[in-house]
């Protein structure tokens, strides 16, 4: 089935007579053939680790019982795999892992400076992004990029620059689904003006740059790159000028919810992702349920009546607050379960949306506040060759192996991702 808003390669090329390199153009050939359902990927990250004694199931293999923290996922047991033994090679506090969950990059340069690298969601966006109106969704309950080692985003470009996230459901919804209005002519005119504005702004920066020292020039380059990205996005939007945004009824969504109502808020954010996947508005989403340590979800504990202590504080109390911590973990896994429900509820041809979507759910941080033994679940992708219904106890495998597995599953032909060289065979149907 080809949806009207799928772009074919020719349409795409015709519109891009511009000075911007599009390194991912060749990647289009990787995309799924038009007769198949689009392959989607979602990454959901929860902060501050989890209370492992109640998070990991006791038994491994296929005959395992869900742990207390994951009880609510019973109905999805056959569609997911719980994994332990995945590691990130990041030194220092477990909170640092929040920056590297999806990039698995080296966190220091040789000069001992902060570094990061291309995140797996952005690699997917580069491969499939030009086929959808939005190359990827980057969301976090704490907007922006945050600070180093306490990022508000999971997504990084090929230079390791953080891609800012969005946190406001209304804005995200409007951006994805609300038509700006106006006739084709008016839209064309508006695009022309936008180009004209961006052109002169870039001209200003270029001529200014000539009179600046090296360090100042770098800053102006950063500015110019950002302007070009927006120019590119405007061009992208122009490709879609004849294709209306999908009609989505937002009346059932609680778009006004804020983190003060954690359940409504997180579910709404997840519902938006569901709608974006369903309408093929985007094929990849990375949603960070909060930044590490002190984020906007810190007080969800008091808001849900779990404890006076914040989430991060509880995560430091270990066994003495294991009960409360488990309740927090349950809150997150319930949201995850809700999301899986949504994906399952939508049928596509002879499968469900979940069968065509990989959903990774996890944290960058275990009970011990370090980056090993990361709590991780992979769900969905049944129609893409994944097998589930198991608790895998892996032996000290890099998290990047999981992302490599995901990339290969959705059809991106690569033999390595970051430190990942060995796909996790246990996830693949024999």
């Amino acid at each position: 089935m080809t949806k009207s808003w799928h772009l074919n390669r020719r349409t795409f090329l015709r519109g891009t007579g511009v000075a911007i390199a599009l390194p991912w153009l060749e990647a289009m050939s990787w995309a799924a053939p038009a007769d198949k359902q689009p392959r989607r990927t979602v990454f959901l990250y929860f902060p501050n680790g989890c209370y492992t004694p109640t998070w990991y199931p006791e038994q491994t293999g296929q005959n395992y019982n869900l742990s207390p923290a994951l009880q609510s996922l019973q109905r999805h047991k056959a569609d997911m795999t719980v994994m332990r033994g995945l590691n990130l090679n990041i030194r220092g506090s477990g909170h640092n892992c929040g920056d590297y969950w999806l990039s698995c990059a080296n966190h220091l340069t040789s000069a001992n400076q902060y570094a990061n690298g291309l995140s797996v969601d952005q690699l997917i966006a580069q491969s499939f992004g030009n086929q959808t109106r939005f190359p990827s969704l980057v969301m976090c309950n704490d907007a922006g990029v945050g600070e180093q080692y306490r990022a508000h985003t999971q997504s990084y470009d090929e230079k390791g620059r953080a891609i800012p996230s969005q946190s406001n459901p209304q804005q995200i919804f409007a951006r994805l689904f609300t038509d700006e209005g106006g006739t084709r002519q008016q839209k064309k005119r508006a695009f022309a003006v936008q180009h004209s504005i961006l052109d002169v702004v870039a001209d200003s920066a270029s001529s200014l740059k000539r009179n600046l020292g090296a360090r100042d020039q770098q800053k102006l380059d950063e500015y110019l790159t950002s302007v070009r990205e927006i120019e590119w996005r405007v061009q992208q939007s122009e490709q879609w000028i004849d294709i209306p945004k999908p009609q989505v009824d937002g009346s059932g969504l609680q778009l006004q919810a804020t983190v003060e109502e954690p359940i409504a808020y997180v579910d709404t954010m997840l519902d938006i992702i569901f709608l974006a996947l369903k309408t093929d508005t985007s094929r990849v989403a990375a949603y960070m349920l909060s930044r590490e340590q002190y984020g906007s979800m810190q007080n969800l504990t008091s808001r849900l009546g779990i404890s006076d202590h914040g989430h991060h504080d509880i995560s430091h109390k270990g066994h003495s607050m294991g009960k409360e911590w488990t309740l927090v973990d349950q809150f997150f896994s319930q949201r995850f379960g809700h999301f899986l429900d949504r994906l399952k509820s939508y049928r596509e041809a002879d499968s469900t949306l979940l069968d065509n979507t990989l959903v990774a759910y996890g944290g960058g941080n275990s009970t011990r506040h370090n980056c090993s033994d990361l709590p991780t679940i992979l769900a969905g992708g049944g129609a893409l060759g994944l097998q589930h219904g198991q608790h895998l106890h892996l032996k000290n495998r890099p998290l990047a192996d999981l992302w490599l597995t995901a990339l290969q599953t959705i059809g991106i032909e690569t033999e390595q991702f970051a430190a990942g060289r060995r796909p996790i065979d246990e996830l693949r149907k024999a």
């Binding site: 220092g92 909170h95 009179n211 500015y223 007080n299 914040g310």
Partner: protein, 889 residues
């Protein structure tokens, strides 16, 4: 070696946050001495002597067996690494060595342990060398990197440029914070596509607000007055009625329409109940909403010409003014004419408290129940017979107006209430404030008025400021408008060339058949997204010769305005720049004073003290409800206000700098005074209060804000406060612990590997840990006299002997017992170190860059200048502005 603030932010940045949760700390790389000793003058160069004398022998003895010339386990030959981490490329590997040593993974168990002293000095060398390398690599050679306005400055700049007092931070992402804790550091703050996207949208939004066009919008205006008249019914019943008169008017030329509603008043209780809707039939017939205001009141007592809100009544809420036709944007104004009526028998001024008035505002959308949020909480200090007007103004669009989705609201509600506590029942069953306890007055409301949008002239002044008064739609006029705007926005000598690009945008827009004004907006949007507006551009005349140079008068004006107003220069500054008069030190000094006297300085004074003292951390503190029950909800906000106001006032009145450490006054309202146990401060208003017990309080250090943010909401840990004190007040940040030290706190038993006891033992036994803790911990002990929410305490029920241990003993034997002694110590023994630290922090903030070792001489000179001029707060501001660093690019 002196630690300036520019350490590797990856380590330091983490550390700044992390230190609050850390117990284990290892060696100090650079000594923490500068609070204790005068800094030496060393430029960080690589020290071969030290390496040859101590490090190499250690490597040979303990490491080279496996990682040497012959054997290279893990492909690592430590003797071949470049020991100069700044010049070489092996810093990451050295970092690994440090981790292995600290974690005691190396040398392996079967090999002999290095002696404690040798290990300590090895670790110390590694850490200091890593820090030095990071500093050298991060250095900007003591020069300012071209600075983008941060989100606050951007918003204020738009406000000042366009004359519209709206919050324009929009969805701009928060700024990155530099190693020294500031969010205006040119090298740190970056630009992303999200910024550009927001700049485009915000510029457009701002221009739409400034360049409103078309018909003057309808203005809503509602006014209520009350009239209570007893009368006799025809059948002889004595009754009385309350006549409420409701005026509704708009600007469409109609006169105010008085609408009356009459409510019967219960003669015995003098109460009315129920609610009344006011309908404007004329409007109704024109097809618009019928009831467009209604007044809801339950069990209200009435006076002659007012409604009474007594603390005694069951439902103290009244006058839910519900409006169905109301402005949805622009400035609104609420006026309340009110007075305070003391309880019977408590009429003496010292015997009662003024009535309280809380105003709440809320919008209801379809399907939501809505909720009102307080917008004002004040004391009504006007006596009966002399009611006063209380006026509240704000823009509907501003973020602090609690009207989510006002555009979709069906109606808005204005709620007045008297939130004073309800008096208890006395033995006769009558509610009465007991003698000796505060007695709250009743609130009398005589009039209530709501109007908006407030428009002083049409088109508004901010429109004509940009568009002029001409009305023709010629390209010539457009060019003139764009030129004028660009010159102001770019804050530099007017050059006709600058505007050409933006005129081209206008021309293209016109060709696309956009209207005149729309095309102007397009051109101006581009100008507001151009780097000349967004950045503090200070070009080099000759790129090849990038020697430091003096900034020109326009650049100086921009630097001044960013420093003192968080915004762009005003016309006076630009005029002085045009004639170069601003470069005259006398003129410059006078401008500093003028700018500090301007209300706009409040922005920067508060912004600086927030960041200097890390006040935003208060947000993250959950005050433990069980330990500290019944805290007023405004407590944290009031704490913050005290510290901000204190700093602001010190600068405004040009107080002596030592007042920062030891003043005999602060600024309190009733909530905080109660918190501190100070009596005689009544009401919400902050005022200057003389400390009755100067041993307990004085200066910033005893403020509840900083004592709360340096604890965890439950209990105190001396190391947290010691580290906070060194970081902020002494600008001598303790070094980050090595990466392998897990982030744990001392109450935790969460590690599967080590119990708390083991951790503490390891910590105590480790010479390297002790080395550092000995320098940080003592500073925290005097603060033990304050509990986790900053209250004075003389006992600690949970400690071993129930006593507060507030005595600090330093390694040199100095003993400081308690806050009073700490203040004395700082004033007498550390005066210069403290003053220097303050100057360094303010200088870094003023320059928008971190200080480096090359700034040493400048800082020395600043300290001397400030002292010669009597060490006053404004003296510091003036000296910084006159310094070479501030006037050099």
């Amino acid at each position: 070696m002196r630690v300036f603030t520019d350490c590797n932010p990856s380590r330091r940045g983490r550390y700044l946050q992390r230190v609050l949760l850390l117990l284990p700390l290892f060696v100090a790389p650079c000594t923490l001495s500068h609070a204790q000793q005068p800094p030496s003058d060393d430029v960080p160069a690589w020290d071969r002597l030290q390496f040859d004398a101590h490090v190499r022998p250690f490597l040979v003895k303990h490491c080279s067996g496996c990682h040497g010339e012959k054997t290279q386990k893990a492909e690592l030959n430590l003797l071949a690494l470049n020991p100069d981490m700044a010049a070489g490329d092996d810093a990451a590997l050295w970092n690994e060595v440090l981790d292995q040593l600290v974690a005691r993974r190396m040398p392996p168990k079967e090999k002999p342990r290095p002696e404690a002293e040798a290990l300590t000095s090895m670790i110390r060398w590694l850490t200091s060398e890593l820090e030095r390398a990071a500093r050298v690599r991060r250095s900007t050679d003591g020069r300012v990197v071209v600075r983008r306005m941060n989100r606050k400055q951007y918003s204020y700049a738009l406000q000042d440029l366009l004359g519209v007092e709206l919050d324009f931070t929009g969805d701009l992402p928060p700024e990155a914070v530099s190693a020294d804790g500031f969010d205006n550091n040119g090298a740190q703050i970056s630009v992303s596509s999200l910024h550009i996207e927001n700049y485009l949208a915000l510029a457009r939004k701002a221009l739409d607000k400034a360049l409103v066009n078309g018909e003057k919008p309808d203005m809503s205006h509602y006014r209520f007055t009350f009239d209570h008249t007893p009368f006799v019914e025809p059948d002889g019943d004595r009754k009385s009625k309350l006549k409420a008169t409701f005026f509704e008017s708009t600007t469409d030329g109609r006169q105010p329409i008085p609408l009356e509603a009459v409510m019967a008043v219960d003669e015995k209780t003098q109460q009315i109940s129920g609610f009344v809707s006011y309908k404007n039939k004329e409007r109704q017939s024109s097809g618009r909403d019928g009831a467009f205001a209604h007044l809801d009141h339950r069990e209200l007592t009435v006076a002659e010409d007012a409604i009474v809100l007594s603390p005694n009544s069951n439902d103290r809420k009244f006058a839910v003014l519900q409006l169905q036709e109301f402005p949805r944007q622009g400035k609104y104004r609420i006026r309340i004419k009110a007075a305070s009526l003391p309880p019977v028998g408590r009429e003496k001024p010292s015997d009662h408290r003024p009535a309280r008035l809380r105003i709440k505002l809320g919008a209801r959308t379809k399907g939501s129940s809505g909720a009102e949020v307080p917008i004002a909480d004040i004391d009504v200090d006007a006596p009966v017979g002399k009611p006063r007007d209380f006026v509240f103004e704000n823009y509907f669009e501003n973020k602090n107006v609690p009207l989510r989705n006002i555009l979709y609201a069906k109606h808005i509600r204005v709620v007045l209430e008297n939130p004073a506590p309800k008096p208890p029942k006395n033995k006769h069953g009558k509610r009465e404030f007991p003698p000796g306890e505060p007695a709250y007055s009743s609130l009398l409301v005589y009039e209530l008025e709501f109007e908006g949008p407030m428009i002083e002239s049409w088109p508004p002044a901010h429109y004509t400021a940009i568009m002029g008064t001409a009305t023709d739609e010629t390209d010539e006029r457009a060019q003139e408008i764009i030129r004028r705007f660009v010159t102001r926005a770019f804050r530099k000598p007017s050059n006709p060339q600058d505007a050409e690009r933006f005129i081209a945008v206008y021309m293209q827009s016109r060709q696309l058949k956009y209207s005149f004004e729309e095309s102007i907006k397009h051109a101006l949007t581009a100008a507001l997204c151009a780097p000349e507006f967004l950045f503090l551009v200070e070009p080099d005349a000759e790129v090849k010769n990038q020697k430091p140079r003096r900034v020109n008068a326009f650049e100086l004006a921009s630097r001044l305005a960013m420093f003192l107003w968080c915004s762009i220069p005003d016309d006076e500054l630009l005029a002085l720049a045009r004639t170069d008069k601003l470069l005259d030190p006398k003129v410059l000094t006078a401008q500093v004073d003028r700018m500090l006297d301007d209300p706009k300085s409040k922005r920067s004074l508060r912004d600086f003290v927030d960041q200097w003292l890390e006040l935003s951390k208060l947000d993250n503190i959950n005050i433990n409800n069980r330990l500290f029950p019944d805290r007023p909800p405004t407590l944290k906000a009031d704490m913050l206000e005290e510290t901000r106001r204190f700093y602001e006032q010190l600068v405004l009145v040009d107080a002596p700098c030592p007042d920062l450490i030891a003043s005999d006054y602060s600024f309190l309202n009733e909530t905080l005074a109660d918190h501190y146990g100070v009596s005689g401060v009544l009401g919400r208003e902050f005022r200057r209060v003389h400390w009755p017990q100067p041993r307990q309080r004085g200066g910033l250090l005893g403020h509840a804000s900083v004592m709360t943010l340096s604890a965890d909401g439950t209990r105190t840990l001396p190391i947290l406060r010691g580290a906070w004190f060194l970081r902020t007040v002494m600008n001598d940040p303790p070094p980050p612990p090595p990466d392998v030290v897990p982030e744990l706190d001392n109450r935790t038993q969460d590690s599967d590997e080590l119990t708390l006891k083991e951790k503490l033992a390891r910590h105590r036994n480790d010479a390297a840990c002790l080395d550092c803790h000995r320098k940080i911990d003592p500073w925290g002990f005097p603060f033990e006299q304050y509990d986790a929410i900053g209250r004075w305490r003389t006992a600690m029920p949970n400690s071993k002997d129930g006593k507060v241990d507030y005595t600090a003993i330093f390694s040199d034997g100095t003993k400081i017992a308690g806050m009073a002694e700490l203040r004395q110590h700082l004033l007498l023994k550390k005066h210069d170190a403290f003053l220097r630290a303050y100057i360094e922090k303010l200088l870094a903030y003023a320059l928008g860059r971190s200080l480096e070792y090359t700034d040493r001489a400048e800082v020395d000179e600043l300290v001397q200048t400030v002292k010669q001029n009597g060490a006053t707060m404004r003296g510091v501001y003036r000296a910084i502005v006159l310094s070479d660093a501030f006037r050099t690019k």
